[in-house]
């Protein structure tokens, strides 16, 4: 088995960047050639890594045979996006009660450890006379993104499937994108993020991709909501959508004109028409991909006040509210 692996590896290495499939130990793991990584200082001597294949078995694989996307065969270009899709989200403000399950799930699955969550639920009240309501916001994945326009190094980019993602290997930390975003949705890693992963760091590094933001976060770069393409690839909904107990978030492909909140699956056009859907700051011309349904006939606002913390959006292990500077 080892000799066979050594032979195939040599063949691949000699042929440059060819993709290949091989099955190991009954599971279905892929061995790709790491383009460019072949020159990195990974020693070719029998060091192996433990990985889990798709059936839950532990297998040992030589790190040199592994490319970034490990378990599933990624057919699309990470910068271009999932073909034929246009991801859209609808947030039903009439149902939001500030349960914050969405925020907790997002923080957990993206290992957010700073002081600023990527998904924030605002306590909004436009004027004294109009009613207060809860407003969940996340990256709007605008079709005319101001953040992408101003990035000097193409670290944040707009894809064909509508997503705006961040390559945190290229970001130089100028924060111009943060200045440009009118939705205040980007956060910055001012210091080394102290994330704790349930898997070892080698594996995290192998899975490192703009499609799974926060895995890992990099000091001196920007982070934000990614609309969970790592979930969409598996045909699963973003974490906030599944976590919400009130069915506030709907998600889907605009091309299919269908969105779902996990329980209801509805025509997007019908949902927006019947509920007078709109987008935030439409007049700025950013063309966001998130629609809001106004809080008409909604459930109580006051109940959400219990959960409301003006100064905290990320739960810390010792649950103390950060109120002072770090330095």
């Amino acid at each position: 088995m080892d000799d066979q692996m050594k032979d195939t590896r040599r063949k691949f290495l000699n042929n440059g960047w060819k993709l290949g499939l091989a099955s190991i130990v009954g599971g279905a793991a892929l061995t790709h050639l790491k383009e460019g990584f072949a020159f990195e200082s990974k020693d070719p001597s029998g060091k192996t890594m433990e990985l889990m294949d798709t059936e839950g078995n532990i297998i040992e694989v030589d790190p040199m045979d592994i490319e970034e996307m490990d378990l599933d065969h990624v057919t699309h270009n990470v910068r271009r996006g999932i073909p034929g899709r246009k991801f859209t989200m609808v947030v039903d403000l009439a149902k939001c009660q500030n349960a914050l399950a969405c925020q907790r799930s997002c923080n957990k699955h993206h290992f957010v450890t700073g002081d600023n969550a990527w998904l924030k639920v605002y306590k909004m009240q436009e004027t004294e006379d109009t009613a207060p309501y809860w407003l969940p916001t996340m990256c709007m994945h605008c079709d005319q993104p101001a953040c992408v326009t101003v990035c000097p190094v193409d670290a944040t980019f707009k894809r064909e499937d509508g997503l705006v993602l961040i390559d945190n290997d290229r970001c130089v930390g100028c924060r111009f994108c943060m200045a440009a975003c009118p939705y205040s949705t980007r956060v910055f890693n001012w210091n080394e993020p102290n994330q704790e992963f349930e898997m070892n760091m080698d594996m995290v590094e192998e899975m490192h991709s703009p499609e799974h933001a926060g895995m890992p976060s990099v000091k001196g770069t920007v982070d934000k909501c990614d609309f969970c393409p790592h979930q969409a690839e598996k045909g699963e909904l973003p974490h906030c959508v599944t976590a919400c107990p009130n069915g506030v978030f709907y998600f889907g492909d605009k091309n299919e004109d269908v969105v779902t909140n996990g329980n209801e699956t509805v025509r997007l056009s019908k949902l927006l028409e019947e509920n007078a859907g709109y987008r935030m700051f439409e007049d700025l011309g950013t063309e966001p991909s998130v629609y809001y349904l106004p809080p008409k006939d909604r459930l109580s606002f006051e109940e959400g006040l219990e959960n409301y913390n003006e100064f905290q959006s990320v739960e810390k292990p010792d649950s103390t509210v950060e109120n002072s500077d770090e330095s």
């Binding site: 002081d115 306590k123 130089v172 930390g173 924060r175 200045a179 009118p182 109120n323 500077d325």
Partner: protein
């Protein structure tokens, strides 16, 4: 040649006095402290500053804007005044170019300090996106550094030649160094033609480049949606602000050098009077743009705008705003109308006040806007609703200012602060017209 000797003694390079050594020591100390603080910033990350997700740009950026603004003085004093044939500019041009060069070099360094990942600086060139205003900055600043350097260098060539010849007898090493920079200058007709053509071309180049530089600096802000930044007024506002800050910096430096080297007969009250009038004009134009920027929007009082203006005019930033505007702009604009205040000493005080207020003005451009995003500031620590630079930021910023002063000091030390070649020419002309008169 003996005709140069007096000029060399007056405006040429002099060894540091004890005061000069102390001054250099002080600057070196500040710079060393800054380097230590910067290394700490590299290790710990920018968490050592007080910038956070809302006030994401702070004193590093406002310091950068200040340096870009003051570097405009070369374009005005050397180029614009040259193209308008304003002869009175002559005593100022060398120092103007020195100040401009020092400031634009420091602008380039200061912006790198603000980058959180300077180790990835090459990405700005390899993966450059031309759509981004920062990329335009990456293009214009090196270009402007080179052009400023050339505009300083070309008129210096004859002076280097003069010094080369002057030290030939008694200081071989100095003569060789100056000789190297003099590139075999011998006042031949060819060389004179080349130099004059080059200086003229540079003067023509540096004006549009300077205007573009200041405009790009403004575009870093006005290409965003932010209230207080999203203004079509911003580019001319920044250009006129650069004129004020630049001339202020120049007058401050000129006065000190004049006192230090006793150049009262070279840079006379007449020259200060003329420069004072230009300074006044710059202040009045800048005042006009300030009115357009801060008072006119009150008429429509759009929600975001009015909140922002409220903060500046009556709220948290009211005291610094009014000091900077009244004492740093309105007062100088009024005082400089009167000849009494266009004398060297009063102008020096006015200039220093203008420079300090210019620095704080840029702080007021950057920070208050960031504290008024479209969505309310929630879900983050209370300290994130305020900003005042941290110790690291102050130390590093002071180091950049010290570095700018050090570049100026070193250039003043080693380079004639006025063109000896030009002075000798003028002297020769004066003598010949006198002779003609007596005949």
């Amino acid at each position: 040649m003996s005709k140069y000797d007096q000029f060399i003694k007056d405006v040429g390079p002099q060894k540091f006095s004890r005061g000069g050594m102390l001054w250099m020591g002080f600057l070196i100390l500040l710079i060393a402290a800054g380097i230590v603080a910067y290394i700490d910033q590299l290790i710990e990350g920018q968490v050592v500053t007080n910038m956070r997700d809302y006030v994401l740009w702070g004193v590093y950026i406002s310091n950068f804007v200040f340096f870009v603004a003051t570097s405009f003085v070369g374009a005005i004093v050397v180029a614009v005044l040259r193209l308008t044939n304003s002869e009175w500019r002559r005593p100022f041009v060398r120092l103007a170019e020195i100040v401009a060069l020092a400031c634009i070099i420091m602008a380039g360094i200061t912006i790198v300090i603000d980058m959180a990942r300077p180790d990835r600086m090459l990405n700005l060139f390899i993966h450059a996106r031309l759509q981004s205003p920062i990329t335009w900055d990456v293009i214009i600043i090196p270009t402007f550094i080179v052009v400023s350097l050339l505009l300083l260098y070309f008129p210096l060539i004859p002076d280097f030649a003069i010094l080369r010849d002057h030290y030939k007898g008694n200081n071989k090493r100095l003569s060789k160094i100056y000789g190297f920079f003099a590139v075999k200058w011998q006042w031949t007709k060819e060389q004179l033609k080349l130099k004059n053509k080059s200086v003229h071309l540079l003067a023509l180049m540096i004006i549009p480049l300077g205007l573009i530089l200041e405009s790009i600096d403004a575009y870093l802000f006005s290409t965003t949606y932010r209230v207080g930044w999203d203004s079509s007024n911003f580019a001319p506002y920044f250009i006129s602000g650069a004129m004020v800050a630049g001339i202020g910096a120049l007058v401050s430096v000129v006065y000190i050098v004049r006192r230090n080297k006793q150049l009262e007969s070279y840079i006379t009250e007449y020259h200060f009077d003329k420069m004072g009038k230009l300074f006044n004009l710059a202040c009045i134009i800048y005042l006009y743009f300030n009115i357009n920027e801060y008072l006119v929007p009150l008429f429509t009082a759009k929600k975001g705008e009015s909140e922002h203006l409220e903060t500046l005019l009556r709220g948290d930033f009211a005291i610094p705003f009014w000091i900077v505007t009244l004492i740093g702009l309105v007062l100088p604009a009024i005082l400089l109308i009167f000849k009494r205040f266009r004398k060297p000493k009063p102008m020096f005080y006015i200039a220093v006040v203008v420079v300090i207020c210019s620095w704080w003005k840029r702080y007021l451009i950057v920070t208050p806007t960031l504290l008024h995003p479209y969505l309310p500031i929630q879900g983050v620590p209370e300290s994130w609703r305020h900003y005042f630079p941290s110790l690291h930021e102050w130390v590093i910023t002071s180091a950049t200012l010290a570095m700018a002063l050090m570049i100026i000091t070193l250039l003043v030390r080693y380079v004639p602060v006025m063109s000896i070649d030009r002075l000798a020419e003028e002297e020769a002309e004066r003598v010949s017209t006198e002779k003609k008169a007596t005949i």
